[in-house]
Amino acid sequence: MGMSTLTQDELVAQVKRERRFRNRLWAYFKSLTSNWTATIGFIIIVVFFFVAVFAPVVAPYHPTEDDYRNGMPSYAPPLTDGPGENAFPILLGTDWAGQDVFSRILYGAQSAMWAGFISISVGLFGGISLGAVSGYLGGTVDNIIMRIVDAWMAIPSFFMLLIIVAALSDQPWNEGGKYTLLIAMFFIGFMGIPGYARIIRGSVLAVREMDFIDAARATGSSETRIIVKHVVPNVFPIILVYATMGIGGAISSTASLSFIGLGARPNVPDWGGDMDRARSVFFIYPWNMFFPGLAIFLVVLGFNLLGDWLRDVLDPRTRDV
């Protein structure tokens, strides 16, 4: 046991400083920058969000205007000179319609961001509600919810989505498939609910059984205080980690749907959709398919690296903040 050389008053002051330090965001930031994989993930995610929000500002070309208006050739290779004097170079080539692949990737980030955001919101909202109720109430309620979840997980989601999209594509309100991508995002979130519900139920159950919950009860803590001070702080980081990693998964699921023609409308910038249209010419003009694929890969990687770091840093047993 290390003996302290500080006096009690100094220690009180130190504790206060320590607490304030802990509350500071930059303590986490410091831990982030000391971990190179997390730093890479963080940078990817920041760039991704920046690009998604400011695509119209940063994109050098309009994503959907064709070669006649842009004056750009179809299937130009990467690093071609742009049309006209002082034009921005065509960094990643052009596609079949002479559209700038780089600009389309920047705009495609918007669709990817919405995919991640919508799917994860739907999945978490449903998963947290069901899982928390199931885990906290237990008994018959728990049994019923968990059997529904089991059945839910048995649904083959891809085929289900095929049917839904086919059924909805004829609807007058969904003319030209303008809501198809949105439906796909909601559906991916919806199919994620049982997974989150299970994880959250499991964590709530595990925390509820711990002696420190009884200890809190024995000191006279109210149920509300127990939930707020003990259950939520112990379950929340798990949710945050799964949500972060889930965003990457949702983005790649939505992209695969677009890739098989079930998501984005033709010509709307979307990584999966762009890869779909470049598929037939992959061996002749590989950049058309390669770069949107690379974008998906990087973003999913970024969320996973960040998720790994979050898991470590949010668990006091492994954090060094």
């Binding site: 220690l11 009180v12 504790v15 009884d214 000191t219």
Partner: protein, 345 residues
């Protein structure tokens, strides 16, 4: 004066005369368990089945028995962590069995618990200072600065260093964590502490430290302990009186030395024979009980120990023996209490 107040008043007089801090009267804790998925019938698990005992102020009672005998359940009923099915718990002359709301919260200050598992009993996401200070926050006892002050003193009291304040539980060894648990239990200045297997999860070398700490604290703060344990060595070291439980019932209760020198219940005798000894002169064989502990869902008729008792006679499986005083303060529930035994501890 209503009859309830009258009863409470009488209880108070009774307990102040006897000097008991806590009295447990006919405590029962039954759990209903579903028979099967398709039937609404339930089975009754009699975890604690009609036990009574009392503890004098400043004394220590040991509750011993093997796993599943209901000793922990009984302790948690007394602390009002479980709602007992029947019976009375009287704390300092007040019936606390049905206390609710604010009164129950006030009671929490006076009785605390030390847990068996020093790992799951501390919230891994709170610093040690927050853990020990939490009871103070819950009861609004002090402001932040005073609270830090109190927690520092508690750390010193249980033998931890002040700079452990802002560390997290995972940075400590099992013994240190148990000290943190003890400090938390002491935070509200309780008068009665339940120690639920306080050392069974610790290394033997650490056990003695924690036991001595508990004894020192008892003297310093005039605490009353209820020690739940299965280790008879621990019980002998800490307690003045012992109650032996078997399948939800107290089978023998006696002052500690008397219980260990002249056990009267065959079950107690078997427990004592199982304690390993370093005394080479003490030549005795272990009494090995045959069969399994009966299920508390289907307790055997008559004496619950009759199915495994080597002295059992016909009456034992027909009539349940009452807990009777066979010597001063020595109670035993047996039709044929042992007069002499080779098994001593």
């Amino acid at each position: 004066m209503s009859s309830l107040q009258l009863k409470e008043g009488m209880n108070m007089i009774e307990s102040s005369e006897s000097g008991n801090i806590i009295e447990v009267k006919n405590l029962k804790m039954y759990f209903q368990i579903a028979k099967s998925l398709f039937s609404s019938d339930t089975l009754t698990l009699r975890a604690v089945d009609d036990i009574s005992f009392s503890i004098k102020k400043g004394a220590t009672l040991g509750l011993v028995g093997e796993s599943g005998c209901g000793k922990t359940t009984a302790a948690r009923c007394i602390l009002r962590l479980y709602e007992s099915t029947d019976g009375q718990i009287i704390f300092e002359g007040r019936d606390i069995t049905k206390l609710k709301g604010r009164k129950l919260r006030q009671l929490r200050k006076d009785m605390q618990i030390i847990f068996q598992d020093p790992y799951s009993s501390l919230d891994p996401r709170m610093s040690v200072g927050d853990i020990i200070g939490e009871p103070l926050v819950v009861h609004g006892v002090a402001n932040a600065t005073e609270r830090s002050e109190i927690v520092f003193n508690l750390l010193k009291t249980v033998g931890l260093a002040p700079d452990h304040f802002y560390r997290f539980p995972h940075e400590f060894s099992g013994g240190q964590r148990q000290r943190i648990g003890v400090a938390r239990a002491l935070a509200l200045n309780p008068r009665f502490i339940v120690a639920d297997e306080p050392v069974s999860a610790l290394d033997v070398s650490i056990q003695a430290q924690i036991l001595n700490l508990l004894q020192d604290l008892q003297k310093e703060f005039n605490l009353t302990y209820l020690v739940v344990a299965h280790d008879l060595g621990v019980v002998r070291h800490l307690t003045q009186e012992v109650a032996v439980m078997y399948v939800g019932k107290i089978v023998e209760k006696a002052p500690t030395e008397e219980l260990f020198h002249s056990p009267s219940h065959p079950y107690t005798e078997a427990l004592i024979s199982a304690v390993p000894s370093l005394n080479l002169k003490r030549k005795m064989n272990r009494l090995v009980l045959r069969g399994d502990v009966p299920s508390p869902v289907f307790p055997p008729p008559g004496c619950r120990f009759s199915t495994r008792c080597m002295y059992a006679k016909a009456i034992c499986s027909q009539k349940e023996p009452p807990l009777e005083e066979i010597a001063p303060d020595h109670f035993v529930a047996c039709h044929f209490p042992l007069e002499e035994t080779a098994y001593k501890f």
